[in-house]
């Protein structure tokens, strides 16, 4: 026997206080009444009333007993006395609402998630009022939306606010979380209810054992053909050439033919008809030339139930040669060096034609000082002492280069000490300047990163075209490094890809180191990642555009395609399915409160019938008698007055 609403202590305290109150009222009702009179002379003489001792015995004891018993019964009814095993509170249920990519499937103008919500609301409605529920959104990640609560309005609001996700369902993680949450709740474990199509990211082989599992399956059409990924790479063969590959997959059981439409900017490629068998994947490749920036878009026709993977858009940057404006009086000397690289387009100007804003990506100033600093990144060759961006400390002759700054990008790979400079300027450096090559007297090659709106610049204190330097291996490498540092986007390897939301892996080049990788979102926030066996692994729970930078390579990973699960989860055979009946959790105790309430009310009515009504009748009779006596004596009084 136990009390559902009150503990035994609370019940006894309440019964004691109310019983005392009833007993006090009872005694007060039957207590000797006090009356103030004008005189006592007639009471003592005429009435012959004797002073009574306080009566010890209680009048109408059964009335008090009946009242107390009735009160006890009513209190027990309010306490919802039950007969059976202890069950202090309701059960704690976990409602796993599938918000994976499949929940966005549209069927007859309603999303699969809408049908899930209707079933989830129906389930919540059918639970006993005291049961608590935690709503959890299950996708690639498990996100609890509410705590365990019996507030139905809060639960319905949480279900109503759920939105379709982009990642695939990880059912094992969701079930593990639900089991742990039930264990932590401290209440009676209820059901773990999964509402969704049951399409998961991984094949279920383990048959995870979950007690009290209920699966409310929402059927999914599954006839979906979608873009799996798009990869776009800049070709090394020719400037302005892009190679693109679009992968399309048929997730459905039947063969389907779709049309793949691709375009770059306003240029539309010829559409391709793709016939895909069940679970078949096809790669469509494209090669196109363009120097301008633009968006490459791919889409499938006709659209299907899951529209989110039917189209994708990738933004590609400009892909032209590096334009260099060379202000020199030695065009013939520079020509062979610059013609060696097809990615460079050089334009020569005489020093008198100098402009601060040339139509080029880089300005090269050969042996003269500019009246105004260039507005683009610049490379200065032996600037004169007067007008040099960096003050010339001294001139050295026949000086060997004693130190190369291999830590910088410009000095990477340059370590020869055999180079001797016939004539060189030694620069005075300031804070922020990076010495690349130095003699014993000081730096002769300096790089100055962009500062306060001024573009980056580099200074060579010697002539790389001088006869003694022309045949040094170091000279063209140094020149190439300087150009790469001044315009990295021209020389870096560029990869663009559109891939699925969720866990993504990327094979790195052997030269790439994990320490050198920088992965950021569009907003600049760093993204956590790991590198294992030369493979980059990262995770995005929602659509993101990630920038992955490493020395000499830039990747843009557009995780904007849904991660469509391809495995069908088979729940354990012990799991219940479908919506439960209205009273799913039958209590193993018998409620007695109705009987107790009836008995209590009957007791009170009986008390009133047997004692209360009789008391009232006695009072009425007494009053009638008093009135008759008064009337009799009033007559006598009138008689006296008349006399």
């Amino acid at each position: 026997m136990f009390f559902l609403n009150l503990t035994a202590g609370e019940f006894l305290a309440l019964l004691g206080s109310l019983g005392s109150l009833v007993a006090a009222l009872y005694l007060l009702d039957r207590a000797r009444r006090k009356k103030v009179v004008s005189t006592l002379r007639f009471w003592t003489s005429a009435v012959n009333a004797e002073e009574k001792q306080t009566r010890k015995h209680m009048r109408d004891p059964w009335s008090l007993i009946l009242q107390l018993v009735s009160l006890c019964l009513l209190l027990l009814a309010i306490a919802q006395l039950q007969w059976g095993t202890r069950e202090r509170s309701g059960h704690d249920h976990i409602l796993l609402l599938d918000t994976s990519a499949w929940s966005g499937e549209i069927d007859r103008n309603t999303t699969l998630l809408s049908r899930e919500k209707a079933l989830a609301d129906a389930y919540i409605t059918r639970l006993p009022a005291r049961d608590r529920v935690m709503v959890v959104e299950a996708g690639a990640l498990v996100t609890p939306v509410t705590s365990f609560t019996a507030d139905r309005a809060q639960l319905h609001a949480a279900v109503r606010d759920a939105r379709p996700g982009w990642a695939a369902l990880d059912i094992h993680q969701a079930l593990s979380y639900a089991q742990q949450a039930q264990a932590w709740s401290g209440g009676n474990p209820g059901e773990i209810v999964y509402v969704g199509p049951g399409e998961t990211s991984s094949q279920d082989d383990s048959k995870q054992s979950v007690a009290n599992l209920r699966v409310i399956r929402v059927p999914v059409d599954g006839a979906n053909v979608g873009i799996v990924n798009v990869a776009v790479t800049r070709s090394d063969a020719a400037a302005g050439e892009w190679r693109a590959a679009v992968t399309v997959k048929n997730y459905g059981p039947a063969t389907r033919t779709v049309r793949l439409n691709t375009r770059f900017g306003q240029s539309v490629f010829a559409p391709r008809l793709l016939t895909l068998g069940s679970k078949q994947q096809v790669v469509a490749e494209y090669v196109f030339d363009t120097t301008g920036a633009g968006q490459m878009a791919a889409s499938l026709e006709p659209s299907d139930a899951l529209p989110s993977d039917d189209s994708v858009v990738l933004a590609l940057p400009r892909n032209g040669p590096l334009r260099i404006a060379i202000f020199t009086s030695r065009q013939n000397a520079w020509q062979p060096l610059l013609d060696a690289d097809s990615r460079i387009s050089a334009k020569f100007f005489r020093p008198g034609e100098y402009r601060a804003k040339p139509e080029a990506d880089i300005a090269l100033l050969d042996g003269f000082s500019a009246p105004q600093p260039p507005a683009v990144p610049s490379l200065w060759i032996q600037p004169p002492d007067i007008g040099s961006p960096l003050p010339v400390k001294t001139l050295v002759d026949n000086a060997p280069i004693t130190q190369w700054n291999e830590a910088s990008v410009v000095g990477a790979g340059l370590r020869t000490t055999e180079a001797r400079l016939s004539t060189a300027e030694v620069f005075h450096t300031f804070e922020g300047d990076v010495p690349i090559a130095s003699t014993a007297q000081g730096p002769v090659v300096v790089a100055r990163p962009p500062v306060a709106g001024r573009p980056e610049m580099a200074l060579l204190g010697f002539d790389p075209l001088a006869p003694d330097m022309k045949f040094q291996v170091t000279t063209p490498l140094l020149f190439a490094n300087l150009l790469r540092w001044l315009a990295p986007e021209t020389f870096d390897v560029l990869d663009f890809a559109a891939a699925r939301v969720g866990a993504t892996s990327l094979v790195l080049d052997k030269s790439e180191r994990a320490q050198q990788l920088r992965i950021r979102t569009e907003s600049g926030a760093a993204v956590p990642f790991s590198v294992r066996n030369g493979t980059l692994q990262l995770f995005a729970a929602r659509p993101e555009i990630l920038s992955i930078e490493s020395p000499g390579r830039q990747r843009v990973l557009s995780l904007t395609l849904p991660d469509v699960a391809e495995n069908h989860w088979q729940p354990p055979t012990t799991a219940a399915s479908g919506l439960p009946a209205f009273v799913a959790w039958r209590s193993n105790s018998v409620a007695l409160w109705q009987i107790l309430a009836v008995l209590g009310a009957t007791g009170l009515i009986a008390e009133w019938l047997f004692f209360g009504r009789r008391r009232k009748a006695r009072l009425i009779a007494g009053a009638r008698k008093a009135r008759s006596v008064a009337s009799k004596h009033s007559d006598r009084e009138r008689e006296l007055v008349n006399q």
Partner: protein, 296 residues
């Protein structure tokens, strides 16, 4: 401001009543006979020559203009019988009221106000003398109906206090007011000691008694049954009794016997008696029992 003791309509009805007494008091003109003695009054009696020290207000100036000699107007004196209204203000007057009835104290004040107004209308001088264990400060009102308001204010300002002691009250009354007159005593006459002998003394000294006994419904017919703890309103003495119908009847009989004794005492001494409950309206009391008892 507290409510008036008697309303205007009731006062208008009271104007046709008169305070009456039956005795002929020596030295005074009793009943309605006027004296022929000169003195302060309203009715002209005669002229005499003006002497030094006479009140100039009595000079007949019209005669002076004619005869160039001062004559003094004389008026017939109106020696009224002194009317003294003894009002019981003891604590017993606050007890015994039935449910919804006025207390005896308040009822007695209203009744006193009505009697005072009746006297003032007929230019009687009335002394209001509250008493409980002893006489308290009196208030003399005379001079017509326009002097009623101070008397009503005096009555309204009274508070019940103390216990009744008729012996001391009678002794003090006879000492302070040797001139005989009409003594109207408004009380419940419910003191623990004997009230008959003091009243007899007052009558023996030549005062005409007019006893107005007021009782509450509970004073005469106590309500309720069962165990009751009684407490005397004046002394605080307590008595525990078991009240039943028989005891109630015996009590009422004793009360009526007491009232009958009071009435006999009044009539035996040439006085009058009126007794009624506070449940009876003041207006009905004035025109009913009080009129039957020839109070007015």
């Amino acid at each position: 401001m507290s409510e008036a003791l008697v309303d205007r309509h009731f006062l208008e009805k009271l104007e046709r009543l008169t305070l009456q007494w039956q005795k002929s008091f020596s030295g005074l003109v009793g009943g309605h006979n006027l004296s022929r003695f000169p003195g302060p009054g309203q009715e002209f009696l005669d002229h005499r020559s003006f002497h030094q020290g006479d009140d100039l207000r009595g000079v007949n100036w019209r005669a002076y203009m004619r005869f160039e000699k001062l004559f003094l107007k004389m008026f017939q004196i109106e020696p009224r019988v002194p009317v003294r209204l003894l009002l019981d203000v003891s604590m017993s007057m606050t007890a015994g009221a039935g449910s919804g009835d006025l207390s005896k104290f308040h009822y007695a004040r209203r009744l006193s106000a009505a009697l005072v107004y009746v006297g003032l209308v007929h230019l009687d001088s009335i002394l209001i003398q509250p008493f409980s264990a002893r006489l308290r400060d009196p208030f003399l009102c005379s001079g017509g109906r326009h002097r009623f308001q101070p008397a009503e204010n005096f009555l309204r300002a009274l508070n019940p206090e103390g216990k009744t002691n008729y012996f001391d009250t009678a002794r003090q009354f006879l000492t302070e007011y040797p001139q005989r007159g009409l003594a109207i005593i408004i009380s419940d006459f419910l003191d623990d000691a004997d009230c008959f002998h003091p009243l007899q003394y007052i009558a023996d000294f030549g005062h005409e008694l007019l006893l107005v006994q007021i009782w509450g419904e509970e004073d005469r017919v106590p309500a309720g049954t069962g165990e009751i703890e009684l407490m005397d309103a004046e002394t605080g003495a307590e008595l525990k009794i078991a009240l039943d119908d028989r005891a109630r009847e015996e009590y009422t009989a004793a009360f009526d016997s007491h009232a009958e004794e009071l009435k006999r005492l009044a009539l035996r001494n040439g006085g009058r008696y009126a007794g009624f409950s506070t449940r009876l309206a003041i207006e009905e009391a004035m025109f009913g029992p009080m009129t039957i008892a020839q109070v007015n």
